[in-house]
Subunit: 416 residues, 2 copies
């Protein structure tokens, strides 16, 4: 079992323990790295296109728009942007669609792509786009394009073959470039700092909603461009809801307090969970906490061994094997139920991406030079919930298993 | 042309000019109204199902989940919720899918639906769902379901007929219930208050980002559950980007300052735009502003006449006719280009919904008892942009054309 220290106000972490927010120079460097990497990203996609015998790739996912063209969209922007940002990759060129609201943004943000101005619905623009880009056999992101749109595009250009494809860019995006990992780590440090800064504000009587808003504010004024997702702050038995929302419940002594949150830095995200103890921890809650920490520990140990083996040429284990390892430890102990969700997920432009470390994730070796979460939990309905979530970089060539969430995982006591 | 007053600090609006934030009693009343209305909403859907000869309706859009089942999802939650929240409406019952992360939420929030627990991918759960719900001919939201998912569901249950449908629930949702309109108006009042409260903070040198965050904070601590969408704050020539993002540009005297923002109250949204003058307005900017205000005025006048006619049995005009009216006024004047976007859009659970008031919106009469934006603009690239956006309720029976955005549309001067 883990050796966890007890962390009280006397030895609480301090915001200055964590890396400073990114500078303007960092941001410029990252933008330049992205622009320099884009031809290689497109080159890998085109290699796949040629292998699969297509001469066009029609993309609709915002992560892919950003990765391949530079357009800084995310889930909040796509809700209102219509067909703007969708893109066609040919064997030589890239076209980015934009209606009048987005033409200037595309010209600014996608310097190496060609603006394709649209005025009408996608189906009405499609024949022109296909003609202009000269494609005849087009891979289409079929887990994103709505069924009805697919049918309409097919009918609009009967001579053009549409090939439903899935996962091409996702598979590529799980291998992270150094400047991508830097941004994930920078987002982690902003989150660590924000939680350290919040600790003194956690007093009995303050509500989950107050604390969630306070933490969000610290993240967004502490160097983040935005949140990765809404802050979860759940106290006591509410922490047993793995996706609960902060409510008007006041923080109470003798309860746990769970925070799940993340930041975005130039498009790249962090994701961390800490479960704190308000006042003197209850024995049962400590037992649950130690069990979760132990189940996370064995995963980190196993990742270290896996990277050593990989340096000797043995493939990394598959994601599900790590989930089973953590789950079996909890189940084997017999006192508590194991988490119902997966052990972890890749992270980058999206909060959840490949690789998957769930029970039902793909049974293929983990990719190299990647970053993902390790987040076991125990949820006892009506009683208590505990989750601990860290991000970890795995890099075989560098012999590296690096936890980049640095806020302590020990028994942190607050509100006293 | 409009008679617009000049509003300086001496006669600025004050937060207390607008309705107070909703109380806990308001929220309870709205929740009860929703629960009471849900059987009628489902009844209208089932009537359509029977007309079209289907015995099941498989829904995937979060607006529809919320409207028909009560599950309080929005675009931020669906990003990570997998298949949870998707739902099947049968002729008698409703089933809401949830994996282990969401089962408690569904039980709490959807008291009149049946939880359908899922562990696997949708395609693997589908045969069980179809069997349990006893459906054999299923309408599927075909503008939301991904093409690949559609193909997989079809292959998984060859004996079940899938019918691609679009717009059934959208058409219904544009007719608003009184308690829906109350929430949109409450969200408007929160936005009005927040902007009034922000005015003294608008000083030369403060950046667009600072002001956007400040305004957001006032909205979220002023009674909103969340933003309707990210705050846009654009100064000077940046205001010519109808979808620009706030940057590090400092506010400067002699420039315009455009805010486009909205709040959410118990799921219902507001959306407003104001273009303020920082320091002494430039003559050219005033001319643009007055032109935009005039183009909005003639729409409101025409709406008033349309409602009077409708009370005598004449159908309301179609959305595009109002767009043409505002656009033609600007174009006919000849000095400035007209907006490239649409004149307006319905609003409710989603920020953009039916009815559409764009050039290419459906050429059908506006629905009765509805709410939409009227937001003409003029964008001169590299020079200046002006947009004025108000929400308006149209209710023929009540003889009502009510602007529910109450912050003045006059020439508001700030930063002096």
């Amino acid at each position: 079992m883990s050796n966890l220290a007890r962390i009280t106000p006397a030895n609480w972490p301090h915001p200055a323990d964590y890396a400073a927010p990114p500078t303007a120079a960092d941001r410029t460097r990252w933008a330049e790295a992205d622009r320099a990497a884009r031809p290689e990203r497109l080159g890998r996609l085109r290699k796949r296109m040629i292998q699969e015998g297509v001469d066009g790739y029609f993309g609709l996912r915002w992560e892919h728009m950003r990765y391949l063209t530079g357009l800084p969209f995310d889930e909040s922007e796509v809700a209102g942007s219509g067909d703007s940002g969708k893109f066609m990759v040919g064997l030589e060129d890239v076209w980015v669609l934009a209606d009048s609201r987005y033409t200037i943004a595309v010209q600014r943000e996608c310097p190496d792509a060609t603006l394709y101005e649209i005025e009408l619905q996608l189906v009405d623009e499609w024949p022109g786009l296909v003609a202009k880009s000269g494609v005849s056999r087009v891979a289409v992101e079929a887990m994103t394009i709505p069924h009805l749109t697919w049918e309409r595009l097919r009918a609009a250009t009967p001579g053009i073959e549409l090939i439903p494809v899935e996962g091409w860019v996702e598979a590529d995006r799980q291998h992270k470039e150094p400047s991508e990992l830097e941004r994930v780590a920078a987002a982690c440090a902003i989150s660590d700092r924000a939680l350290a800064a919040l600790l003194p504000s956690i007093r009995q009587g303050v509500t989950e909603k107050d604390l969630a808003l306070d933490l969000e504010w610290r993240i967004r004024t502490g160097g983040a461009d935005r949140l990765a997702f809404d802050v979860a702050c759940l106290s006591g038995a509410e922490a047993a809801l793995p996706h609960g929302a902060p409510g008007l419940r006041p923080v109470k002594s003798g309860e746990v307090l769970l925070f799940d949150f993340g930041a975005q830095v130039e498009g790249y995200r962090s994701d961390m969970t800490r479960t704190l103890f308000v006042g003197e921890p209850r024995e049962r809650d400590l037992e649950v906490y130690r069990m979760v920490a132990a189940s996370q520990d064995i995963v980190f140990d196993a990742l270290g061994e896996a990277v050593s083996s990989a340096q000797r040429g043995i493939a990394l284990p598959a994601g599900p094997s790590f989930d089973h390892m953590a789950r079996d430890l909890i189940t084997g102990d017999g006192r508590f139920p194991a988490y119902g969700h997966g052990l972890g997920h890749g992270i980058g432009l999206a909060t959840h991406e490949l690789p998957g470390l769930g029970r039902r994730s793909a049974d293929v070796p983990l990719p190299d030079r990647t970053v993902f979460s390790v987040e076991p939990g125990i949820y006892m309905e009506g009683e208590v919930g505990v989750r601990i979530e860290d991000l970890v970089i795995v890099d075989v060539e560098a012999g590296l298993v690096e936890r980049i969430t640095n806020f302590p995982r020990d028994e942190v006591v607050v509100g006293i």
